[in-house]
Structure formats: structure tokens, C-alpha cells
Amino acid sequence: MQTKRTVFGSPVLPYLLVLPQVAITVIFFLWPAGQAVQQSFMREDPFGLKSTFVWFANYQKLFADPMYLHSLQVTAVFAISVTVVSIGSALVFAVAADRMVKSAQAYTTMLVWPYAVAPAVAGVMWWFMFNPTIGIMSYIMRGLGYDWDHSLNPTDAMILVVVAASWKQISYNFLFFLAGLQSIPSSLNEAAAIDNAGPMKRFFTITLPLLSPTTFFLAVVNIVYAMFDTFAVIHSTTQGGPSQATNTLVYKVFQDGFIGLKIGPSAAQSVVLMIIVIALTVVQFRWVERHVEY
């Protein structure tokens, strides 16, 4: 076994080398995070003229607020739906593209395109297509006898944001699945085929289990994406409505803090979010990194 240890001549140099990274972490993470924690214990007017230390009052109020609990529930439904939809469809596309001999490249390129679209633009596009007054999709659905109205119907609104948020993420998942599929030795499939296993059987007994590390990794990444990266999609489609039916935790922080100017309660919400991110990161490092074979 080879040793990777490097010996520095000067005791100062190593600290100097990590300094930029430490500085970035302190300025862009520790400092604002510390401020958020501090503000979450304060009650303050928007201008910061009067602030009172209120201990855990903001947190107590938060967890007693039915709207916040509702938002937790909405976030769970949204994150799980986005993960299932985007992973499921990406897998189907990847398997289909993997089978193509000549056109695989073309399909791959086209399927990756949506990833280049900015979330806000994607949101506006879906909003346009599903707009109850001017949208083509709602027009078609009315023709089929379904009165689509995401501005009033909570289920329609949730479907809209899930579709808009998943659409982009399919490209990302697709690339990982395609790479995963290509690393499965074809001898395994061929041997199974000789043993008279049909394509479906081979998929479920060989391909899927061998893809499970990729799937697990993508599940974590997608949940994080759905929870924290979909602000633009929601902002440009439903703005959390109707009646908070699509008001996820991140969007609520924005609404309470930046629109409603309630700084303390909003800071408390972002501290809760920070704890969730830390928990998800721990899951990813402890379990996912160990089991995924690259």
C-alpha cells in the first residue's frame, strides 16, 4: 500500500493553502447561517429598529401553526412525487435509448436538452401550456371533458408543479442511468437470454438490481433538488397557491421573510430547513457513498 501523506517544509504553508476554502466557507456559509440562527431567536420589526430576544417563541409558534405543518406535508408530497416521476421516466428513457444502436446518440442529445433550460423559463413555459384561460393543454383537456384549473384546484396545481419540476430533472437522471446501463456487462444479459429469460424478466432480475446504487444516489439527489432547488419553478407557476396547496418550505421562507417582512419567524424556518439539509447530507455520505460503486 502506498502512503499518500505529504510533508510540508513550513508549518504555515498548509494553513495558507486551505485558507481560501476556509474563508469562502466562513463568509458564504457560517456567517449567514449564524445570522439566521441569531435572528430566529429575535422578534424584530422590518427596519431593525426594535429587536427583542424571545428565546424559542418563533419555533414554538412555527410548530403550532397549522399552515406550517401543512407546508411540511406539501413538501413531502411534492418531493416524493418529483423523485418518483423523474426517476421513473428517466429509467424508461435510458433503457429505451440504450437499446438503440445507431440513433442512441441523437436521442441522448435531445433528452439532455431540457437540463439547459433555466428553471424560471421552464416554469413559465409550463404555466403557459396549462393556463386555464390561454393554455393549449387546458384547452385539450377541456375538449376531453376535464375542466383543468390550477388556479383553484389544489390537485391540478400540485400536478402542474410536479410536472414542471420533474421535466428538467429527467435529463439529469437519464444521463446517470444511461452510464449505469452501459457499465452492466452484456455477458450477464446474454447468459440469461440463453437460459430462456425474456426481456422483462432480464430487466427486473439483472438490470434493475445492478442499477440500484445509481437509483439510491439519484433518489437522494432528487429529493434535495425537489426540496431546495425548485423555488423558481413554483414562483413562476403557482406562487404557492391556490390556498397554499403548493407552498413548499423554501417558498414559505421567501413569502414570510421577503414579502411578509417577518424576519424572526422566517429565520426560524430557514434554520429548520438547514437541519433538514444537514440530515440529508449525512444520509448521503454515510449510506449512499458507501454503497455506490463507481
Binding site: R43, E44, D45, P46, F47, G48, L49, K50, N131, P132, T133, I134, S151, L152, N153, P154, Q239, G241, P242, S243, Q244, Q255, D256, F258, I259, G260, L261, K262, G264, P265
Partner: protein, 439 residues
């Protein structure tokens, strides 16, 4: 950062071009599009009229974004001299005593000629404290009115010169329009909160909240869950189900204008400042104007409607020299010529009596029928404690609650009384939060 560079650049050019370095005054505003261009024209007119001060207008996005930006800037000590704040932010601004420089005080300190009684009482009452002091400078105030499609009225066999007066009329006219096939829907509306609840209450002389709609102090509570409001929301739900009314979405109701422009709905309630947009978009039909409908059997209706829009607030922490510039600019801004020009261009109310009289003597109202509906409606009767406006803390969020509960009504999860009761409870909770943070 970018703004600072921009401001620095502008200051540099200003000091190079003129012998005296003019005092720089920054104005953050939320007027985009044509209104923004007009605003810049007004500022350019002021800058050209004198050389002591130079006003720089900076567009900061929506009303909410402008206000948030100004507050964040204040906390960082980088605030502009003037910021445009929408009427629902009034409660927040008024409570921030150390952050704002009241206009009456500014005018007195700088010894600038200033007569609060020259302004329309219905407008200025909204921005005056309990002692009668004017705290911010009215700039763009509007009130909701009714627009209707004269061509559709004619096709349906109605008199195109007669706007509906009461809600009974609206219903009867809508039925006739829909039966005759002249249009698919009777009416739509922007701003459920502002038009179908706040103005609805004021128009029927019903209190929106206790303590004179919140003017009397931070301890006020909402009272919009009365029987008349419940009856109206009940009707809206019934009409929505029957297709008579078509919901245009939360907040400003982004989907409402296209329904009217595309002649899908025959009647449309929205701000008087939508007038320019309506005229520009109603290419294939003639537009009629009317006052807001009322229920004929409610005593005291119609009273007078209340305003929306924004005012200009002066922020603390700037050098005295700049405040002189601000006062001088405000003096220019409230002159009859500037006000009449702005009002006639935009559909916002004329802020001063002189501006209205100037429009009359110019023959503007005779040449543009319907352009004076808003001012007639807002001055229909002397404002009562129920109809001079409203002032509650955290009202930006209360507006969201109103939209949410209205959606709960329309999607059938609540009755009108349940929706209004929940709205009052949730709204009061927000108002209490504000009270706790500001006392």
C-alpha cells in the same frame, strides 16, 4: 452594488457637465413599462427646471420588491432618499418611526411651501396620522371602477349607454348577455381582496376592522365577516359555478384582463389606472365606464370607494442638503400641471383639487368620457370612519390570506361564512404579530 456604481457614474457626469455639483437625490420606484417611462419624463422635466438638485429615479421591480429592497438598504445604511411604497405597506412604514421622515415635518423643516388641504381628502386621509399630519407624499392613487363592453351590451339587447348600478343589475344583465350568446361570461374582476372585500365594505359603509379600520391604533381587528360580505361572497361562488362570474386569479388577478379584452366576459372591475391598458387592448369594441355595483337594499350604499396605489416615503439618515432637494422635488411633483399630466396619462386619480380643476378647464373630461368616474366615485360622499381607508400591520400577508380563503370558497372546501370567519381569525393573528413586534 450596481446601483451604487450607476449613481456614482451619474454623479460624475453631473459634476462634469455642470459648474456646480448638483445635490443628488435618489428615488426608488416600482413603475415599469409605460408608467415608468412617463415617470422618468416627469423627473427629467424637474431636473431641467432647476440646477441645484438632480433626482435619479431607479426602477426596483414590483411594489413588494421595491419595499423589501428599501428596507434591506436601510438596515445596511444604503437607503435611497425617496421610496415608493404601495398602500398595503402603509402600516409597516408608519410604525417605523425612526426610519421615516414624515412629509409634513420635512416640509416644515425645509420651509417649503406646502398646503395639505390642497389635496383630495379621500386620498390624503389614507396617509395621515391620527393628529392630522401627512406622513407620505401621495403620487399614484387609484380606485376600482367598472368597465363594460358596449358592443356586447348592444348585441344582448341592453342599453349600451347604461352601466349596471347594482349587483342585481349585474346579475340580470349577465343572464341576458349569456342567454343571447353575446358573451360567454357576465363579469370578471381583478383584486378580489381590494375590490370585492375592502372596497365592497367601504362602498356599503361597513367597517373593515375595529378602531376605524385600524386608523386608531395597532390593536385593531378585522370585521369583514359580516352578513353583507358573506352574502356577496356567497353570490360570487354561485355566479362562478353558473359561469356568470369568472375568477381571474389571486392578487391582481392576472387572468382577468384577457377575459375582458377577448370579449369572453362583458364586464370587468379593476383599478381606474387600468384605463390606459383597457383602451389599448379593446381594439374591436367600445368600452363603457361605471361605478362599482352595490346591493340596493343595504342602507348607506353607495358610500364612497377607497384608494389603492402608492405614495412616496422619505427615509431618515441622509444629509440635510438632500432633504431640501426632496422637498423641492415634492413641491414640483404636486403642482397642478405635473399632476394633471400624470393623471390624464395613467388613469390614476388627480391628487390635488387644482389638478382636477385644470383637467376640467382643459376640457379633458368632456373629451374623454369615463375618465372622471373614479374621482366622482371616491368623492361621492364625505368619507365615514368605515370608508376613509384601512391601516393594519402585516397587511401584505393579510391580502394573501384573503386570496387563499376566497380560493377555498370557490373550490368548494368552505362556505362563504366559514371562509370569511377563518380569514378574520388568520388575519387578526398576523395583525397581532405586527403589534407585538412594534410595541
Amino acid at each position: 452594488m450596481f446601483n451604487r456604481i450607476l449613481a456614482a457614474g451619474l454623479m460624475l457626469t453631473a459634476s462634469v457637465t455642470s459648474a456646480f455639483a448638483a445635490t443628488e437625490v435618489t428615488w426608488w420606484h416600482a413603475m415599469g413599462g409605460e408608467l415608468g417611462a412617463k415617470l422618468e419624463e416627469i423627473v427629467a422635466g424637474y431636473n431641467a427646471s432647476q440646477s441645484a438638485y438632480h433626482v435619479t429615479p431607479v426602477y426596483k421591480g414590483s411594489y413588494a420588491e421595491t419595499m423589501t429592497a428599501a428596507i434591506a438598504a436601510f438596515r445596511a445604511g444604503e437607503q435611497p432618499d425617496i421610496v415608493q411604497v404601495y398602500e398595503v405597506g402603509t402600516g409597516t412604514m408608519m410604525a417605523a418611526k425612526g426610519a421615516i421622515y414624515p412629509v409634513y415635518q420635512l416640509m416644515a423643516d425645509t420651509k417649503t411651501e406646502f398646503d395639505p388641504s390642497a389635496f383630495l381628502p379621500a386620498v390624503v386621509g389614507y396617509y395621515t396620522d391620527t393628529e392630522g399630519h401627512m406622513l407620505s407624499m401621495p403620487f399614484n392613487s387609484s380606485t376600482p371602477i367598472l368597465y363594460y363592453n358596449k358592443d356586447v351590451f348592444e348585441k344582448a339587447g341592453l342599453d349600451p349607454e347604461m352601466a349596471p348600478k347594482t349587483w342585481e343589475d349585474v346579475e340580470a344583465f349577465s343572464d341576458k348577455i349569456m342567454e343571447s350568446g353575446a358573451a360567454k361570461c357576465g363579469f370578471t374582476t381583478g383584486w378580489i381582496s381590494w375590490i370585492q372585500l375592502e372596497n365592497f365594505s367601504a362602498w356599503h359603509n361597513l367597517p373593515i376592522g375595529t378602531l376605524e379600520n385600524g386608523f386608531g391604533g395597532l390593536g385593531a381587528e378585522l370585521t369583514v365577516n359580516g352578513p353583507v360580505q358573506a352574502r356577496h361572497w356567497d353570490n360570487l361562488k354561485k355566479w362562478q359555478d353558473a359561469g356568470v362570474f369568472s375568477y381571474g386569479g389571486p392578487a391582481g388577478g392576472a387572468d382577468a384582463p384577457p377575459k375582458f379584452y377577448a370579449q369572453e366576459c362583458a364586464m370587468y372591475m379593476n383599478s381606474s389606472a387600468s384605463r390606459a391598458g383597457v383602451i389599448a387592448n379593446a381594439k374591436d369594441f367600445e368600452v363603457g365606464y361605471g361605478m362599482l355595483p352595490y346591493y340596493a337594499d343595504v342602507d348607506g350604499a353607495p358610500q364612497n370607494s377607497i384608494i389603492g396605489g402608492a405614495t412616496l416615503w422619505v427615509l431618515q439618515g441622509k444629509p440635510a442638503e438632500e432633504y431640501k432637494g426632496v422637498a423641492d422635488f415634492f413641491h414640483y411633483l404636486s403642482s397642478a400641471e405635473v399632476q394633471a399630466d400624470w393623471h390624464q396619462f395613467s388613469g390614476y386619480l388627480p391628487i390635488t383639487k387644482a389638478a382636477y380643476e385644470l383637467g376640467q378647464s382643459q376640457g379633458y373630461y368632456a373629451a374623454n368620457p369615463g375618465s372622471d368616474v373614479a374621482i366622482k366615485q371616491i368623492t361621492l360622499n364625505a368619507p365615514t370612519p368605515n370608508s376613509k381607508g384601512l391601516r393594519f400591520g402585516n397587511y401584505v400577508q393579510v391580502r394573501d390570506v384573503i386570496d387563499e380563503e376566497f380560493q377555498n370558497l370557490l373550490n368548494g372546501s368552505k362556505t362563504s361564512q366559514e371562509a370569511l370567519d377563518t380569514l378574520v381569525v388568520r388575519g387578526n393573528d398576523l395583525i397581532r404579530d405586527f403589534q407585538a413586534a412594534n410595541q
